[in-house]
């Protein structure tokens, strides 16, 4: 790995490919550490613009929980400085249990998060009905995770890219080839830096075919503006217990109300489908599911729907670190649906490795080595 003083390339100390939320957070963090950063972005629609901006701590594994908790904490620390157009809110997540089995999952989750020091509480069906009266009556209960939040990720990314202009330079360019710490642009020009960071989500595959990423297609829909009636981000626990389990296409209830009053409705998941057009049947299923939880939703107007692709690694955790076979090429990809949530933590983990400083979390679960070859320069 390279020491700070050695990172003196031609274009910058570090070139970051991708100006989405991951690239922006990495640029901001590396700049804070004194590095000159050049961010190359080709302005194609990608996951940052497509996602829900839900800051949510998941706990499929201890590593995921650790990175999620750390990252959301960092977002909350950033919140006071963020401009209003980032629409950051610490509104909390309600994990909804429809039945006893899902309530058991809520209790398990409650224990896991509490043990980790996260503020959360179990709610009875009656307490849930009081907290969110728009929900259909008769739900079993819920788990409230108070530290979770929402933000408008495209503006958050823009803000992170713009707030240290003396160290972060943005360039509108498409990268067509990567070789270690060198990149070739669409116009044929080669750029070089001390390090190159791939932070372009699913498109990392195009530049580095051995990065094991799969696209998981999702649909979202947003409504017209309505008076605020939902305060938390609402997610069904079926999201973890049944709806999104397995490899078939699935839908799960996930709704938040933006500060604009618009209801943001998800979610769907489809594998091996890289067609960005809207799958009408999938959209219909997703909305039917949402109406099942929020009966009044049916009479509200949907104004816009779109799709996006989650960039998933085989174990669902991101790849953060140097490419084992290409010295100088670093990866910050494979965040699946959690890119916005874990962007801040990802940036810290990447910077610690690049600059040889002690990492704030255990790195093992995120190192690219778990999928790609053996370290070439061990």
């Amino acid at each position: 790995m390279i020491q700070g003083t050695d990172i003196r390339g031609q274009a910058a100390d570090v070139i970051i490919i991708g100006g989405g939320i991951i690239g922006a957070a990495c640029a901001d963090e590396l700049a804070s550490q004194g590095l000159q950063v050049c961010v190359l972005d080709c302005q194609r629609p990608a996951a940052t613009a497509a996602g829900m901006g839900h800051l949510v701590v998941l706990d499929h594994s201890p590593a995921e929980l650790a990175l999620g908790e750390y990252s959301v904490r960092l977002w909350r620390e950033l919140a006071p400085q963020m401009p209003e157009n980032c629409a950051m809110r610490n509104n909390g997540t309600l994990w909804l249990a429809c039945n006893e089995e899902e309530m058991a999952e809520a209790e398990r989750k409650h224990a896991a998060l509490s043990e980790f020091g996260l503020a959360c509480e179990l709610m009875s069906g009656a307490a849930l009905a009081k907290a969110e009266p728009s929900l259909r009556p008769g739900l079993f209960g819920a788990l409230r995770v108070t530290g979770d939040g929402i933000l408008y990720a495209p503006n958050a990314a823009r803000w992170l890219l713009q707030r240290q202009p003396e160290r972060v330079r943005q360039q509108h360019a498409e990268v067509v080839e990567v070789q270690g710490n060198r990149v070739r642009l669409a116009d044929g020009q080669w750029l070089q830096a001390g390090a190159v960071v791939l932070a372009n989500g699913i498109h990392a595959r195009d530049l580095c075919p051995d990065v094991p990423l799969h696209a998981k297609k999702g649909h979202l829909l947003i409504t017209d503006r309505y008076p605020i009636q939902i305060t938390h981000t609402l997610v069904e626990l079926g999201y973890v217990t049944s709806a999104h389990k397995g490899n078939g296409p699935s839908v799960a209830f996930n709704v938040q109300q933006r500060p604009t009053g618009q209801l943001f409705i998800g979610s769907s998941r489809q594998f091996d489908n890289e067609d960005p057009t809207i799958d009408a049947a999938m959209l219909g299923r997703m909305l039917r599911r949402a109406m099942d939880f929020l009966p009044d939703l049916g009479q509200m107007n949907g104004i816009r729907s779109w799709t996006g692709f989650r960039s998933a690694s085989p174990d669902g955790q991101p790849l953060i670190g140097e490419h084992p076979e290409q010295p100088g090429l670093w990866l910050a990809v494979g965040h699946e649906g959690l890119g916005v949530t874990t962007a801040t933590g990802t940036a810290k983990l990447l910077a610690a490795q690049l600059l040889h400083t002690p990492p704030p979390l255990d790195l093992d679960a995120f190192l690219p080595q778990r999928f790609i070859g053996a370290p070439a320069h061990a």
């Binding site: 959209l283 909305l287 049916g298 009479q299 729907s305």
Partner: protein, 417 residues
């Protein structure tokens, strides 16, 4: 899902009504969808203050006489549910309708170009003003300025005058040579000659266009450029009609080819997509007479009566020539693309000013960075303006094509019958 209908016609303007009436004698089942409360389209829009021409009332009466024609007024197409299946919505319900053949008669809408003050209350489109008046909005005694280009200005002025407004100015952006050339050619189309008479109105100015709408809470005056002179005209309403833009979005979403802002059809009014036809303004602006004959041809072809359809080709050609002359005479002056200033809103839904858009290279980039086009109109107004101002290709529509109830959209989960 209900049983598929033999022929589905989208739009009950002149083209759609003509298509339905031409196809109806075959006895097949026909559904005509229209988003207005009553058939007639924009040109024959009905309302308390409307006076419809005889041809319009007769066609409406005939539509009712055929038991195999079902008219769904106040109904919009929300999404494509699958091959030959559309998701529809009216005030009460949403449902999926299948069809064997489809004729697109989706008409045209006004091109709204941004200029300083265009979002002030009191500023509308020229066709918008006509629609307001016909729906019963009183304009008696109001001072009205009508600006833009083409015969729509005159039609709009006529409606306003008939309802007691004082039309203080009609500003035609085209120059004397273009307009008089067009007017002189009108002898070829005798029933169009009345418009030439209106050209002599004292309020009519050539080479004139709006620079700015003035007012604090609502419109108070208009600053106009007439030739090299700038003047301010006090008024209560400003109606702008720069041109009409064919509604090609549904055709495009279905997969029909769109070229030069119009759905591409051959001499049989067929699109490149099997069993899909298009007629009227959505295939290029041409006026109601052209729309009627195109609709008739499409309706006949859809029921296999090609020979009868062919007999209408000369008539279509005649009106196409008229349309070509018209479009040539009233070509928009590029100066109209530079009226907006840095802070003029282009996207009204998301409050995006001109300056925020101008630096972008494409609609996608602008949308991604400014939220332009992400509001309830889905860019129908601003993407069309941006196409004219910056040359950006408008995006392909995604469902919902216009705001629709979630309960309607949930019907998309129904499997095909």
């Amino acid at each position: 899902m209900t049983r598929p209908v033999d022929l589905l016609i989208i739009g009950a303007g002149p083209a759609g009504m003509a298509a339905a009436l031409a196809a109806a004698p075959s006895g097949i089942s026909i559904v005509v969808l229209d988003d207005n409360p009553l058939p007639g389209g924009q040109i024959w829009r009905d309302g308390p203050n409307a006076q419809l021409p005889t041809v319009a009332t007769e066609m409406r009466a005939q539509l009712q006489r055929y038991s195999n024609i079902h008219l769904h007024s106040g109904t919009k197409v929300v999404a494509i549910a699958g091959p030959k299946r559309l998701l529809l919505e009216d005030a009460e319900r949403g449902w999926v309708l299948g069809y064997e053949k489809l004729i697109l008669c989706t008409g045209a809408r006004e091109l709204l170009l941004p200029f300083p003050g265009w979002t002030l209350p009191g500023v509308t489109g020229a066709g918008g003003l006509q629609a307001l008046i016909k729906s019963g909005v009183p304009v008696s005694g109001e001072r009205i300025v009508i600006a833009g280009s083409g015969p729509l200005l005159l039609a709009s002025a006529a409606t306003a005058k008939k309802n007691g407004a004082e039309v203080v100015r009609i500003a035609e952006q085209a120059g004397r040579r273009a307009v008089s050339g067009f007017a002189l050619g009108l002898w070829r189309w005798p029933n169009k000659a009345f418009q030439a008479v209106t050209l002599a109105s004292g309020a009519y100015r050539l080479s004139a266009h709006v620079i700015e709408a003035l007012g604090s809470d609502r419109l108070e005056a208009v600053r106009m450029q007439t030739g090299s002179r700038v003047e301010e005209i006090a008024c209560d309403r400003l109606a702008c009609g720069f041109s009409l833009v064919p509604n090609t979005e549904l055709g495009s979403a279905l997969g029909c080819e769109v070229r030069d802002r119009a759905i591409v059809v051959d001499e049989w009014q067929t699109t490149g997509l099997t069993d899909h036809y298009a007629a009227g303004e959505c295939t290029g602006f041409g006026g109601s007479e052209l729309a009627l004959v195109e609709g008739k041809i499409a309706g006949l072809v859809a029921v296999g009566r090609q020979e009868e359809a062919r007999a209408h080709w000369p008539e279509r050609q005649r009106w196409q020539r008229f349309a070509d002359r018209l479009n040539q005479a009233f070509t928009l002056d590029p100066a109209l693309k530079t009226l907006a200033t840095a802070d003029t809103l282009v996207c009204r839904c998301e409050d995006v000013p001109y300056a925020e858009l101008a630096d972008h290279a494409s609609w996608n980039s602008a949308k991604l960075n400014t939220r332009c086009g992400m509001g309830a109109c889905q860019g129908r107004i601003c993407a069309t303006a941006a196409h004219t101002l910056f040359g950006w290709e408008p995006p392909r529509l995604r469902p919902p094509f216009s705001p629709a109830r979630i309960a309607t959209l949930a019907c998309l989960d129904e499997p095909a019958a």
